[in-house]
């Protein structure tokens, strides 16, 4: 479904040039849920943003369902891939009702039966029709994230990119959103790429996980490796250990990976 080969993105020029992503390769099968973990600045979100075309100056190849992506996208091609952002407070336009937010993609893509579609998607993400005319400030964080998921889903895409979708939420809400995401994947046969700093969250939703550090994919873990901590790369092991909670002894062995 998704093939990424030799993806590279650099920002800035001259001396201040930073390679955000270096030679990233990954393949995701249709219906698979793929995770990318890494710390801030590892380039994990940059990969997603290159995929959806927020950044257009990348090098390498990105193929979706066999078709290579160009830097410039046609409006129609955007339908197949949507994204859910981290911050449910920042990803909804504060002056627009839920209805405005959900109708807009339909208007842009000239889809009919807007009202039916909006009501259907609201039910699907676990919000009732009573949420249709609310403003974001009238919603809780979890409800906002459900609206953001609904917005991504309403165009019926095949791939959804999840950029830390639960890291701004309370754990109990996080559980609800994770359950919703895995249920939606099953019913719609969606392909996910999920980016997170939280190994446990990615491990819960994804079957394979790439570990990124400083723009490079250092290792790809299977679900099994993830569960047992039987990983090859030292950086991965350190990340795994840190995710287990505070451990003074283990901390002494931590080092910087450059």
């Amino acid at each position: 479904m998704i093939e990424i080969e030799h993806l590279g993105i650099t920002f800035g020029s001259g001396k201040s040039q930073i390679a955000a992503v270096k030679n990233a390769n990954l393949t995701v099968a249709e219906g698979e849920s793929y995770g990318i973990v890494g710390e801030s600045g590892s380039g994990k979100s940059t990969v997603l943003r290159a995929m959806v075309g927020i950044y257009s100056h990348w090098t390498g190849t990105i193929r979706i369902a066999g078709k290579p992506l160009q830097g410039k996208r046609s409006v129609a091609s955007r339908k197949h891939m949507q994204m859910v952002f981290q911050d449910p407070y920042g990803s909804l336009h504060p002056r627009r009702t839920v209805d405005d937010t959900l109708s807009e993609p339909l208007i842009i893509h000239g889809l009919k039966n807007r009202e039916d579609r909006v009501l259907k998607i609201l039910t699907e993400v676990g919000l009732g029709p009573e949420f249709r005319f609310r403003y974001p400030h009238q919603l809780s964080g979890g409800q906002r994230q459900r609206v953001a998921i609904a917005r991504a889903l309403i165009l019926e895409p095949r791939v959804i990119l999840l950029d830390e979708p639960t890291s701004a939420l309370d754990v109990s809400v996080q559980a609800e959103i994770l359950n919703l995401l895995s249920a939606l994947r099953k019913t719609h046969g969606l392909t996910y790429i999920m980016v997170s700093h939280d190994l446990a969250v990615v491990g819960h939703l994804c079957s394979r996980i790439a570990v990124m550090n400083r723009g490079e994919i250092v290792e790809e873990m299977s679900e099994e490796q993830m569960r047992t901590g039987n990983v090859k790369h030292e950086y991965t092991r350190q990340l795994w250990t840190a995710s287990q909670g505070y451990d003074r002894e283990a901390l002494a062995t931590f080092k910087e990976f450059v």
């Binding site: 075309g53 927020i54 994204m83 920042g90 842009i108 009573e130 005319f133 403003y135």
Partner: protein
């Protein structure tokens, strides 16, 4: 929270689940109004502005005359029961002229607003969103306008266009829009990288759509606030032009021009220039207080949380 005690209309306006887009919009405005209402100083400003509108609307009935009838036998009469604010050097009733002058003031305010807001918003948001050469060009033009002192530039425009109220308005508008463009650009720059703009991009929204449907509504409120706060300055510039004889032409009653022609009598017949001065002061103050209150309600930074 139970709202049943607030009556029927407010339960519609405060219902947790609005049934349609119209109700949702009304609720939004109503909640803003509730916040505004809680600020007595802003309400005082609003009262002044509404009073100005009322006076302008019913000027023929309130003034009791057209304000241009001369009565040379009765010139420079002090305030009395017949002439509440006295008469000027041509024996015209100052009260009537103040009342008629409110129309001129409102006219200036209205024209300046409908010219300045769109120009400032479009130039600022376009520059901010597109960036690069467009941004640089538009902002340098803005800088040029920003560099001149307002009254001097307005004077130059009026000198070219010829004196008259419409030209004065045009001159004021042309000298006023630049800060709005800067404001709108600055706001666009912060909005441009927000996730909801990215989300709109990802779903395929065109730049025009992002500009008009996403960014402009966010910049609108701060522009309105700024305009209300600037209103006092606009009124004063208009009065200044009037004072210099470059704005409204006689016999049209314009407060600035009234001060100008009355300034010779300041010491002996103080009411002739003082009354229009007070009128300008009160209206300017009203707009400033209103603007302060609006800022608390509308400004995304102060009302962003809840």
């Amino acid at each position: 929270m139970s709202q049943s005690s607030l009556g029927h209309e407010s339960s519609w306006l405060l219902a947790d689940t609005p049934r349609n887009a119209f109700q949702a919009k009304c609720q939004r405005i109503y909640i803003g109004w509730l916040a505004f209402k809680g600020n007595p100083i802003a309400m005082f400003g609003l009262a002044i502005v509404l009073f100005l509108c009322f006076v302008a609307l019913f000027a023929p009935w309130i003034a009791g005359g057209d304000g241009t009838t001369q009565d040379l036998a009765n010139r420079l009469a002090p305030p009395s029961a017949e002439h509440w604010f006295g008469t000027d050097e041509l024996g015209r009733d100052i009260f009537a002229r103040i009342v008629w002058g409110s129309r001129v003031t409102l006219y200036i305010i209205f024209l300046v607003s409908i010219i300045v807001m769109p120009i400032g918003l479009i130039i600022g948001t376009t520059a901010g969103l597109l960036g690069g050469v467009v941004d640089a060009t538009l902002m340098r033009i803005t800088d040029i306008f920003l560099a001149f002192p307002r009254l001097i530039l307005a004077l130059a425009f009026v000198a070219v266009l010829g004196p008259g109220l419409e030209n004065a308005v045009l001159a004021i508008a042309l000298t006023t829009w630049s800060p709005y463009a800067r404001l709108a650009r600055a706001e666009t720059l912060t909005l441009r990288n927000s996730e909801y703009i990215m989300a709109a991009q990802i779903m395929g929204a065109s730049r025009i759509r992002i500009l008009f449907a996403h960014i402009m509504p966010m910049c609108l409120s701060s522009t309105i606030v700024r305009l209300t706060l600037d209103m006092a300055g606009i009124i004063l510039t208009a009065a200044g032009l009037g004072f210099l004889g470059l704005g409204a032409q006689p016999p049209l009653a314009e407060w600035g021009a009234m001060i100008a022609s009355g300034r010779d009598y300041l010491l002996d017949q103080w009411w002739v220039p003082t009354i229009p001065g007070i009128a300008i002061l009160v209206v300017s103050l009203g707009f400033n207080l209103l603007g302060d209150g609006l800022r608390d309600v509308l400004d995304p930074r102060s009302s962003g949380g809840h």
